[in-house]
């Protein structure tokens, strides 16, 4: 009765700090990705869609179950777990859940083709 309440008044204060190795939202680094499809094989929730023409994956973390298997299996470290866990949203197709939209995929495709052309010119 005469003690302070042992509660965390969340919106007024910071939330309870996350421990080390906390499994938060996935962070995807497109440039590091080599398109080995390991994450597609290992994911239990169908987060990944493989895009064969640019050899990358499109993610929808709205479906993610935070099991970290894709992070453990990724050979280049393109997938990482962040500390972010306040992920409430009004829209399940919110931008923060989606990595690599079709427009971005188009741009990567264009860049890859330019690189190819430049290489071809160099070798000539």
């Amino acid at each position: 009765m005469f003690k302070k309440p042992a509660t965390n008044l969340f919106p007024k204060t910071e939330p309870v700090p996350v421990p080390e190795g906390f499994r938060g939202k996935i962070v995807y680094n497109v440039d590091k990705c080599v398109g080995c499809r390991m994450c597609v094989t290992v994911c239990p929730a169908g987060v990944f869609v493989y895009l064969p023409e640019i050899r990358k994956v499109a993610l929808w973390t709205g479906r993610c179950v935070f099991c970290k298997q894709c992070v453990d299996v990724c050979p280049t470290g393109a997938l990482q777990m962040s500390d972010e866990f306040l992920l409430a949203s009004y829209d399940k197709y919110d931008d923060k859940f989606i990595y690599l939209t079709p427009e971005e995929a188009e741009e990567i495709k264009r860049k890859q083709e330019e690189l190819k052309k430049a290489k071809a010119k160099k070798s000539q």
């Binding site: 169908g46 869609v49 895009l51 499109a58 929808w60 709205g62 197709y93 989606i98 690599l100 939209t101 079709p102």
Partner: protein, 173 residues
């Protein structure tokens, strides 16, 4: 002679048509596997009940193996001093005549597993006192058995996928 060996000898003597085998896993746990033809399936269950009155019926597993259906029951016998005999009884029925005798008067809980097997893979248990569905919804179509791997299984158009936004946008939006 261990419990398992004694039991295997007894089964071999009583049921010469059964296929008995002791398997040991990497942690040294022994399991007895019995393959029994369906003619002696009911007699074997009665034999088990007589062998040990406290025979524990753990689970029944139905499985589609191509031309026929496997029905496996996992028992635990003689478990007064651990570990007891872990026994797996396997019966195979052909798909064109998937009939097994009902054993719910010997092991009452088996009725639940039989009802599941009836709806999930289409084994018919003769003289079962209750043949209603257990897990499937009432509006599920007749003649479709979800665990079948052949043409009686779930058809392609019944499989739903909520869809990935990348594929949805490329298709519609």
């Amino acid at each position: 002679m261990s419990k398992e060996e004694y039991f295997v000898e007894l089964v071999k003597k009583t049921f010469p048509n059964a296929d008995v085998e002791i398997k040991e896993n990497k942690w040294g746990r022994k399991r007895v596997w019995v393959k029994i033809p369906r003619e002696s399936f009911r007699a074997f269950m009665k034999f088990l009940k007589e062998f040990d009155e406290d025979t524990h019926y753990s689970i029944a597993i139905e499985e589609d193996i191509g031309d026929s259906i496997d029905f496996t029951i996992h028992f635990l016998l003689k478990f007064e001093d651990a570990p007891g005999i872990s026994l797996l009884v396997k019966t195979t029925v052909p798909k064109d005549d998937p009939v097994l005798p009902d054993i719910s008067d010997i092991f009452p809980i088996s009725l639940q597993f039989e009802r599941e097997a009836m709806e999930m893979i289409g084994i018919d248990f003769e003289n079962a006192p209750d043949k209603r569905r257990l897990f499937l919804p009432d509006d599920f179509p007749e003649g479709i058995y979800p665990l079948r791997l052949d043409e009686k299984g779930i058809p392609e158009e019944m499989v739903k996928n909520a869809g990935h936004p990348y594929l949805l946008r490329r298709g519609g939006k």
